[in-house]
Symmetry: C2
Subunit: 245 residues, 2 copies
DNA sequence: AAAAAAGTTTGACCCAGATCAATAACCATA
DNA sequence: TATGGTTATTGATCTGGGTCAAACTTTTTT
């Protein structure tokens, strides 16, 4: 079984300041100098913990701030006027979210934990002050939103491709991000259900199940419920269309 | 035939400063004070004109700045590693683009004119200076990128819906945006080909043609080549799933 | 540990929209 | 006003992935 801890000796319950948090290099970036980090640290609300399925924020809530996931995972879900949900993205530790509330002053989506998770918050009313005094932090946020924009562009283009390609892509993307967090890229715990994966990729849950089975038959992956093992990364890369063969 | 002029007496060839440009309220927003606008105005490169199919920027080009369309229209196109194009969005006068180059320092997509168009540019090397001295402009850019983020979220969710709904949505979205620009919402010139519409909506061009025909049979629209007339907006709204019935 | 609920797999069948193909309309340019 | 090249329409056919259904497995609750 996987624990939610991020790195060895890391206690998610501990209220560490930003400058000594081992997620700093993921949340922030090398351009943000120590003084701006400590300035940030002063206003960040640390370490709230939620159980699976609980909401970090609801669609429609007044914009209260930007959130940084500390441990666990979460999904960003958009609900349209007909009540139909779409899993827009999956959040891993060290990733920021909440920008969907910044434009209009209320969140467009809901951010829902996929397992027991903890997070920090940079409150909205501190945001404008901090970014005015800390130009590198300001730039960081602009950078992060542009990165997200690019991520969505690739996601939109990907949606046109066949089911198998999208799934391979999804598995490799998670592997990559797990690795960046010091976890194993070769095997990991899928915190989403087949239903949620399907929703995220625009597929029926049955199709996800079948495709996972197919990849397993082809000896490219090993599936045991939510535990995934990638046996043939190059092969998956070829399938995903990202790595030209 | 439609002209490219935006408002009566507007000459797109004229090199007007930002503060007297009648696109100001679209490019910028009411929060940006006059002194910041004139500061912006000083560094903006104005009014380059291109013919249909020419590139404002190419994917892979070094990030040179943010662009504002003055007249005409353009498409943002992402090309994946297999050379497969996707029309990510359509740009109308007063809209900004180029944020896809800000994260990595080179553009992820290409911005291609759909007809004879003119545009302004805010050069990258001026960007950091301007936004440091002009906090409202800085906030504006952050705001615009977050709005785009939200637009993409809705687009991703929409991609799951049936073809007819997506098309109705697309037609109404253009109508809305034409109206915001002082053009008629009821009828407008589609600057995209059926191929491009299909690509944008994830459909084959034949499907676009058939669906337009179907909507025309249902007396909801009138189609004559690229000229579109919306006869039954409420009906289209119902079809689009955006307006609950 | 049993029961209930939630999630997963597998099979049979179906359909929205793709693909293929042929024709027709709309241009540009000469 | 021909003429060659895009762009659009329409019909026939096909298929990837959806839907429905039933059994099975895992997790949660009692």
């Amino acid at each position: 079984m996987f624990s939610n801890t991020f790195l060895p000796n890391y206690d998610p319950g501990q209220k560490v300041a930003c400058d000594v948090c081992n997620l700093t290099r993921l949340c922030l970036n090398p351009d943000v100098p120590p003084d701006e980090i400590s300035q940030l640290s002063r206003v960040v609300r640390r370490n709230r913990t939620l159980q699976r399925g609980q909401y970090i924020y609801h669609a429609g809530d007044r914009f209260t701030g930007i959130f940084a996931l500390k441990s666990g995972s979460a999904k960003l879900v958009y609900t349209d006027r007909l009540g139909c949900d779409t899993v827009i993205s999956v959040l891993l530790p060290g990733e920021l979210q909440g920008f969907d509330g910044m434009a209009s002053g209320q969140y467009l989506c809901s951010l829902v934990t996929l397992e027991t998770s903890s997070y920090c918050e940079l409150p909205a009313h501190e945001l404008s002050q901090v970014t005015q005094d800390a130009p590198n932090l300001q730039r960081l946020f602009q950078q992060k939103t542009c990165e997200m924009l690019n991520g969505f562009i690739e996601r939109i283009a990907n949606a046109q491709r066949p089911a198998e390609e999208r799934l391979a892509n999804f598995l490799l993307d998670l592997a990559q991000r797990h690795m960046e967090r010091g976890f194993s890229a070769e095997q990991y715990h899928l915190s989403l259900t087949r239903q949620e994966i399907g929703n995220h990729l625009g597929l029926a849950l049955e199709t996800v199940s079948r495709l996972l089975g197919k990849l397993e038959c082809a000896n490219m992956i090993r599936v045991q419920g939510k535990h995934i093992q990638l046996l043939d990364m190059p092969g998956l890369g070829r399938l995903s269309g990202k790595i030209p063969s």
